[in-house]
Amino acid sequence: MLSPKENALGCVECHARDGRLKNLGGFYLPGRDTSPFVEILELIVIIGTLVGVIAHAVMRYLAHKKTLTGGAA
């Protein structure tokens, strides 16, 4: 197994997007490789959650303001 955890080289020499193993294919290297599927899926989930939460907060604020000024409550 090619994994010199204790090495004179700094980890990021290899474990980086543009590290020295940039062009060495055929295996998964932490810090260099990502799956576009996972990254995009999660971008959608995280941004979706943020947008949902902000929209919900704004709607709560507006609904709350209406009850306060509408005199109904």
Binding site: C11, V12, H15, F27, P30, G31, T34, I46, A57, R60
Partner: protein, 201 residues
Amino acid sequence: MRKVYLYARFQRFWHWMQAVIIFSLLFTGLEVHGLFSLMGYETAFHIHNFFAWGLMGFILLAFFWYITTGDFRQYLTEGNLLEKIMMQVRYYMVGIFRNEPHPFKKNEISRLNPLQRITYLMLTLVGLPMQIIFGFTYYYFNELVALGMPPGWIEPVALIHTLLAYMLIGFVIMHVYMTTTGHTLTSNIKAMVTGWEEVDE
């Protein structure tokens, strides 16, 4: 307005420890994932492993606490769980905008609504354990390969670990927002600090 004592000292301690640990794991994990470089790959790697052990230790401690005190019963639901979850969901989608009361009253014997019960149960029994198992598989990868695990597994293991971590970020965003939906905007957070919560009459 009424005040009830909802969270025992251990629960508050466990909650905030969990918050610190998970936040640190997410932060260092993203660096190991190569999204940014702030503390250095090696430091991030070591801190990540340190907190991983911490999380595992605290989870075991929490399991022990919940079982021995019988407090795990707070997470079980009687009757039609789906129906109760839908009542809670309806509250967040409709009722909350009409100033309706919360569908489930909080008190000492029932501090979690059905949606919280199922969410936290899934998180603690499925999500975090999976994350820990995949994380340790990653950590002991070379040892496991020496024992006969196919080296090619590193990719799916890493990807699942990453996927679950990102989902956890989604959970944290949602979770923090949900704290504002109590009796007042901050009553839930105050309760997790002091143990006492202001609830609807």
